[in-house]
């Protein structure tokens, strides 16, 4: 091979190498440019994603506004992709909201096709026929022009899912075939997913708070119904259902309640009027299911925006009963004061009008004294009750002998008992200490009340026995009475009662009906009993109860109708015994 040939081969080789290097450089350059373009595209989508999410945060913030999310995404869409129509549907129980933003002029048919595809998507997801549901339509942006006869050739739907439930569909459509790129669609899916997750999280927080609120509303004794601005019931508590006898109904509408209240109040009209004129209504007393209610209807507003209304069923049955009892009580007190006052007035008139013999005058003075004493006792009782209610009933405890106190009271009532033809005696346990700490003045008042009641409600030639004995916790009081030589007839099991001194006053009167025994020590309900019919305010037993309870003891009563009644009280020894 000649040197010339070798030179040509070398030149050709060098050229080939040079060309290869050039091609490699060009390819690398092309690849770099492609990668650069891809990075630019990626950056563009990322920037858009960040911008839209920021925008969503600014506009929607911490709210559950799914419509706001759809509006914000559609509002920014033209910065990101080219399209003809962006639209959304939101699904509500009674309607579908459809909104379309026309970026380009399209025909009515184009819009209807988009709408149909969205409804089909939602229907398949929810496995429901949504075509018959009322649809509210809003269209904005470019004009609708029938001359534009371009059909829908590209579209994609993004289901709007909140807490795992589809609440709407977002759709982007275009008249060009296979127009949208996967990366564009994926970016929008990502944005919607992030926004939906934020709403879902917030909805979880709100649901937890709602659950607390619902538990609170459910436990309220007043009936509560809350409605939204379209008067659909959002919350109804058991008390509201009970007020109208709807305890077993699960699905309730405002119409159900309006029907239940027909003829008493026009609930639907009042609720609507309350929201319309922003005013609270309070009904007259309404009788429902053997109870009395006042119905309060109030609008619920957030700043200037109406959120709905609240209906409260306020049960005033107890208030009415208390009011009636108080009125009865006042009438009784007035009557009890008027009788002795009337007697005093008549005595004085008689003494002024006629010349009286000395013994007759003395009799009149005795009657005036007796009547004024009755009034004073009544006033003292009322003052005692007032003190008890005000918590100002002071005890002056001191080591005292209950046996001496009982003997003293027997002596005090001896003449009155003889006048009433009643045999008054006592039976006292031998082991009763003489240094039990109690207030002798108030316990004396207790014994006075019990003995005077026993006389008042006894039969002629009847008897009263005042008994006292010591009781040990866990022991049978009947056995304790037997050991003490006491004839005990209280059947109540007192084994659980702590170590106590027990005092009982038993009469042989007509007895008390079982249903009235529980009410005897109540200062208001007592006025209904037979005691009231026989005269007296009945306050004595209420005062007795308060005095004994102030000593840490209990009061009780037992009766066998036709045979008599026993009233007893206990004074705990551990608290009241003196060292």
């Amino acid at each position: 091979m000649t040197a010339e040939v070798l030179t040509v081969i070398e030149i050709a080789t060098a050229l080939i190498i040079f060309l290869l290097v050039v091609v490699l450089i060009l390819q690398a350059n092309k690849k770099t440019k492609k990668e650069s373009r891809m990075r630019e595209e990626e950056a563009k989508y990322k920037m858009y994603e960040i911008a839209v999410l920021n925008d969503l945060n600014d506009k929607i913030g911490y709210s559950l506004d799914v419509q706001g999310i759809a509006e914000t995404i559609i509002g920014s869409l033209n910065q990101f992709i080219d399209y003809s129509v962006a639209s959304y549907i939101l699904l509500f129980p009674e309607k579908i909201v459809f909104k379309a933003h026309l970026e380009k002029v399209v025909s009515r048919k184009f819009i209807d096709t988009v709408k149909e595809k969205m409804i089909d998507s939602a229907s398949l997801i929810l496995n429901a026929n949504l075509k018959s549901i009322r649809l509210e339509e809003t269209i904005n942006g470019a004009t609708v022009n029938e001359k534009s006869n371009q059909p829908v050739k590209s579209f994609f739907n993004i289901p709007l899912e909140i807490s795992g439930k589809v609440v709407g569909i977002l759709t982007i459509a275009d008249a060009r075939s296979s127009f949208f790129q996967e990366v564009e669609m994926a970016t929008l899916y990502k944005i919607v997913k992030q926004a939906s997750q934020a709403v879902t999280t917030l909805e979880g927080v709100v649901a937890a708070e709602n659950s607390k609120l619902n538990a609170m509303v459910a436990s309220m004794t007043d009936g509560v119904i809350m409605t939204d601005k379209d008067f659909r019931i959002l919350v109804v508590n058991p008390a509201a259902k009970k007020a109208l006898g709807f305890e077993n109904k699960k699905e309730l509408s405002l119409i159900d309640f309006a029907n239940g209240l027909a003829g008493k109040i026009d609930l639907k009209d009042k609720v609507e009027e309350s929201v319309r004129i922003d005013k609270t209504f309070v009904s007259e007393e309404i009788s429902l299911q053997n109870s009395f209610f006042k119905i309060i209807i109030a609008p619920v507003r957030d700043s200037w925006k109406s959120l709905g209304s609240v209906v409260v069923f306020r049960d005033i049955t107890r208030e009415k009963e208390i009011q009636r009892i108080k009125e009865d009580f006042t009438s009784m007190i007035v009557h009890e004061l008027r009788s002795p006052l009337d007697s005093i007035k008549k005595m004085i008139e008689m003494m002024r009008a006629t010349e009286m013999k000395k013994d007759k005058r003395a009799e009149c003075f005795q009657m005036i004294y007796s009547s004024s004493s009755d009034m004073l006792e009544l006033v003292n009782n009322i003052l005692d009750v007032a003190k008890i209610e005000a918590g100002k009933f002071d005890l002056k405890k001191q080591p005292s002998d209950i046996k001496e106190l009982i003997k003293g009271r027997i002596l005090f009532f001896d003449i009155a008992a003889k006048d009433a033809k009643v045999n008054l005696t006592s039976l006292l346990g031998k082991d009763i200490p003489n240094n039990v700490e109690f207030d002798p003045h108030t316990i004396s008042q207790v014994l006075n009340n019990l003995i005077s009641n026993a006389m008042k409600f006894n039969k002629e030639n009847g008897s009263i026995i005042v008994q006292a004995l010591m009781h040990k916790n866990g022991e049978s009081i009947e056995n304790e009475a037997k050991d003490a030589g006491i004839d005990w007839f209280i059947k109540n099991d007192m084994a659980a009662v702590e170590d106590s001194l027990v005092v009982a006053v038993t009469n042989t009167g007509p007895g008390i009906a079982p249903e009235q025994i529980g009410k005897l020590f109540n200062k208001f309900f007592q006025v209904k009993t037979e005691f009231a019919q026989k005269g007296g305010t009945g306050l004595g037993l209420a005062i007795t109860k308060s005095i004994v309870e102030s000593h840490g003891g209990t009061v009780g009563a037992e009766s066998i109708q036709g045979q008599g009644a026993t009233f007893y009280f206990t004074l705990p020894i551990n608290k009241n015994i003196s060292n």
Partner: protein, 90 residues
């Protein structure tokens, strides 16, 4: 063509058809085409599967589940119910 593959082709065509309704044709077809082992015709029907049918089905369904989890799963459950011989792959 073996019966099992026929069933898979039919099932996957139904899955794609449901996805077209739910996500729209652009997204549904784009996702289906991104599964390399599937061959789709111009109507979006799955006409061939290269490789293991179960793997292809799993890949396709996962791509749709990424878009809408529970909603699409409910639909796929209904489709799979029609093909008791095919084991669920998601």
């Amino acid at each position: 063509m073996e019966e099992a593959k026929k069933q898979y082709l039919s099932l996957l065509s139904e899955v794609v058809a449901a996805a077209v309704i739910i996500f729209g044709s652009d997204m549904a077809i784009s996702r289906a085409r991104s599964v390399a082992s599937l061959v789709l015709n111009s109507n979006g029907n799955v006409v061939d599967i290269k490789g293991y049918a179960a793997d292809a089905a799993q890949e396709l369904i996962n791509k749709y589940l990424e878009l809408s989890g529970q909603s699409f799963k409910n639909i796929v459950d209904l489709v799979f119910a029609k093909y008791p011989q095919i084991k669920k792959v998601y």
